[in-house]
Symmetry: C2
Amino acid sequence: MDQKLPTIKEIAQRLNISVSTVSRALHNHPRIGLRTKMQVQKLARELNYEPNTLAISFKQKKWYTIGVILPELSEQFFSQAISGIEDVATFQGYTVLIGQSHESVDREKVLVETFRKHRVDGMILSVSKHTDQYGHLDILDKYNIPLVYFDRIPPGGNAPSVSSNIRSGAEQAVNFLVGKGHTHIALLKGPASLIASQQRLEGYEAALAGRGISVDPALVREIDLSPEETRLAIAALLALPNRPTAILCFNDYVCLDAIQFARKEKIRINEDISFVSFANLPICNFLDVPPLASVEQHPYQQGQLAAEMLLDIIEKRKPLSEVKPLVLDTELRIF
Amino acid sequence: MDQKLPTIKEIAQRLNISVSTVSRALHNHPRIGLRTKMQVQKLARELNYEPNTLAISFKQKKWYTIGVILPELSEQFFSQAISGIEDVATFQGYTVLIGQSHESVDREKVLVETFRKHRVDGMILSVSKHTDQYGHLDILDKYNIPLVYFDRIPPGGNAPSVSSNIRSGAEQAVNFLVGKGHTHIALLKGPASLIASQQRLEGYEAALAGRGISVDPALVREIDLSPEETRLAIAALLALPNRPTAILCFNDYVCLDAIQFARKEKIRINEDISFVSFANLPICNFLDVPPLASVEQHPYQQGQLAAEMLLDIIEKRKPLSEVKPLVLDTELRIF
DNA sequence: CTGTTAGCGCCTTCAA
DNA sequence: TTGAAGGCGCTAACAG
């Protein structure tokens, strides 16, 4: 039983030298006797010495850990993102604490508090879809805990963040549909609390305007992303005197729900009504009738960039004033 | 800027008492003056005092964190599991470090080492599908770091673990198919390194034997779960003089791949060949032609149980000798 | 080149 | 009921 791990103190005693010498030898300090250095390192190896990270964290008031709070890991968008975050963090010697808000503001608050109390060095967070106040996040500033928003970012402000250019993504999608001859295009936009909802609308309107098509407000439905509201929205759209011939969905999950409901109403998918959405999740590849196209948002890369941004701040490689929100271009994946 | 967080030392100074008194007052130590206690707690509240978890971790050699290593979070089975783990851990005051092996043994090793060096209090791990040696895991014993295997458990031994009764799940599935009139049932079993592969085979054979159907070895294909091998297996099965009329797939992802390939070969899904699989992932609900049935494995609950088991060990609520591998019953979800 | 000292924040004997 | 002292493992400023 290696129960007790060796400490530098032990090494020092065995070698009859001081702990500081051991510490320096272990760190390859320049002005240290070659002989002693060798001795120390040899013994350290023999004893299987490993620095106690807990002690180091304690001393340096830094625990080389970042906290990541995402709404829902079973959404592939977020699970791919966490991979990107994890890879970068690991590479830079950090570990990743994970927490899911499950779209609950309360859980989000609790998680932020927990991570703060655990003194993580920084956080990456996608706000829950119900988050419309940000006091629990602003507070992190006071504690000097850097925060990078990921994908779902709060309105206004220019806090550090990484997100995709949803507006142009929506334009790409609508232009694609118009190119296919559609003029009656509906939009399932998300809840007002997510600025990405507004951005979808802007892109949608801009694209239509660019093609000289007027916006029919009846075709724009706000939903909370739940299957139920999606169902209602689809029902409402189908009940319209002149139905849309295409629907741009908030994301692939909404799209799957929408397709399912539409199918129940005997709509022939991508014939009677064409579907286009956001995210381009792997799941789409398994559908026999996927949406016509989906806006790729590169979650893995976004995760990487968010982690890099956060670590830049933590390690002070960049002054905070130089850290700008990062907006990534999307591209339309056509099936 | 609250830059500097208050410490008990500060409180002590302001109140002209000793740190030990403060410490005790904060902990509601029995023999402490009511007046002093009140004073201390009041000031603590005013200063927004919060114990430094880093210091406490350091002192107690315990950092109230567990490490979880899973193959792939974008597989819903594992992302649901992590939710269960997270919920239990959070509830008991622990945080969760996450790492994905991405099915690479090397990454798995690195993660185990990283977490060990970070002195996590315990780990939960699903071995990668290529893991066939366990030295990197056995070593944790020496360091007194408890480990609970989750779902993918190593052969033999009775290390603490939580997994489903795959054998009986396979029986359920095969019986279901036999009930539908199938006698020619193929099995896509997984790699030999996963004991769950063998368990599938056992259940498959037992069920067939029970129904008086002889096992045709040509119908049992070992695959590594990659789409490519799935494709080859399907091709091989279709090339058989008398094709199977049903296929039991290793899990839903394999099943989706299999269905996709079969469809390309003009097979009518669940008519020419019926498909049944394991996991019952949410994704199945979005398929217009899902497998006929899928063996529900309750990943969320399994995650919870694994976390509870691990925390029982960590907190020594149970002697290690009493911690037995836990095998959960599955149930067949019919679509 | 190496040793001594002090301290990070907290808890826990041991004394008073 | 309270205080003083020591120590967890490591680093770093200050001395030789």
